[in-house]
Amino acid sequence: MASAMQRSTKPAHRLRGNGLLLALGLALPAQAIAAGGASPAVAWWLWPLALFVACFLIGIVAVPAGIGGGTLFVPLIGGFFPFHLDFVRGAGLLVALASALAAAPVLLRSGLASLRLALPLALLASASSIVGALLGMALPAAAVQTALGLIVLGIVALMLGSKTSEFPQLDRPDRLSAALQMNGVFIDGASGRQVDWQVQRTPLGLVLFLMIGVLAGMFGIGAGWANVPALNLLMGAPLKVSAGTSGLVLSLVDSSAAWVYINRGAVLPMIAVPSIVGMMLGARIGARLLGVLKGSVIRKMVIALLLFAGLRALLKGTGLWP
């Protein structure tokens, strides 16, 4: 018992340290902005470096919190760095895409992501993500920032209020999912037992993914926060399959939306590459800490961060805190 407590105390210290570092990572840019933003007094290379550090820390907390890095990236970087929201959203989509691509092959091989479940949903979501990206690029930045703030606050409400179901019990699949064989089987690592699963309410799920695609494209935030509840609570897929399949859907949705940003010149390598590399390195450490950290503590910390970032985006968009 005592050794277990010791084990759990160390990561808790580490977690508090990470939180502090993340706050420092964001405080540096905020101070520089207050001191004159992109003034020549601030060496240009400090920005990509601070971005790399911030993304590394976001990557560490994003994985154990069960939230895509892109969801934290856009409101935090958009709120506290001097980059225009166009470039932040372009980089945000690539960050979410790179994370999804890194995880998808492993999840597919283990059966925790299902190709047959993902592909029909990804078809509609990827088409609508193009519409979302075009809308996002056409709207004034202040309007997108305000809407982003509202969406992020909505995600906070969803994280606080939503329930999940580890293994939803379904009587029978709907006709569409049965026709497309949207079902499968996986070995649950925790219990070691084989789990058969199927889904229901597929037509409603398709409509929901159409809307999720628009949001993912418009804000560049990935959409794992919406995919997982839709797959788990609405369609009745097991929680682990929902999380795994969500990543596979994201890899296709973000690919489509990212091209809109690339073609419009909204992907700036000096912003995108340090973000991707920092987030992926951080996520590797986050994945290692997954087993030892207390998920609920990290979740609370991420909710607080999102609340702060959402309010910042809202106030920046409305001009109350430029």
């Binding site: 470039f87 190709l115 029909p120």
Partner: protein, 145 residues
């Protein structure tokens, strides 16, 4: 109700042939994309290749909308960057393009597999997703801006 299960392979780990093929091709495509991205960035940031936009000018540009950045720097839209791929910053778009396009080969691979299995709906869905990504990548939807 009887549920059609995907075939099971590899010592009890369930995965269909399509799923395994998709995973393998995606894995290699993503690795290639990331490698190109990191190499391209190293050549750019260490000054091996001259950039299209000098790095010290970036702080004055990255706070402006993308359209304004393009206008001031003369950076081309769409696939115009391919002609300037010898410039450090634009070389990075090769890695970005590989990452955003790496789902296409596995999608085409499993579409062919589904066709052989006479699974017409899934083959059609794969082909349609390829069409959507290719349409987005073509720049047709963003032309004229």
């Amino acid at each position: 109700m009887a549920v059609t299960r995907p075939p099971i392979f590899d010592a009890g780990v369930p995965q269909s042939r399509a799923q395994r093929l998709y995973a393998t091709w995606l894995d290699w495509g993503a690795r290639l994309g990331l490698l190109a991205l990191v190499l391209g960035f190293a050549l750019y940031v260490f000054g091996v290749l001259n950039p299209h936009v000098p790095m010290e000018q970036l702080p004055g540009l990255w706070s402006q909308p993308a359209a304004s950045y393009l206008k001031q720097t003369g950076t081309p839209t769409g696939w115009g960057w391919l002609a300037l791929v010898h410039e450090g910053d634009l070389l990075n778009l090769v890695g970005v393009a590989l990452l955003t396009g790496c789902s296409l080969p596995p999608l085409l691979g499993v579409a062919a597999l589904y066709l052989r299995q006479r699974d017409w709906p899934m083959a059609a869905i794969c082909t349609l997703i390829v069409a959507v990504i290719v349409l987005a990548a073509s720049g047709v939807l963003t032309a004229g801006h």
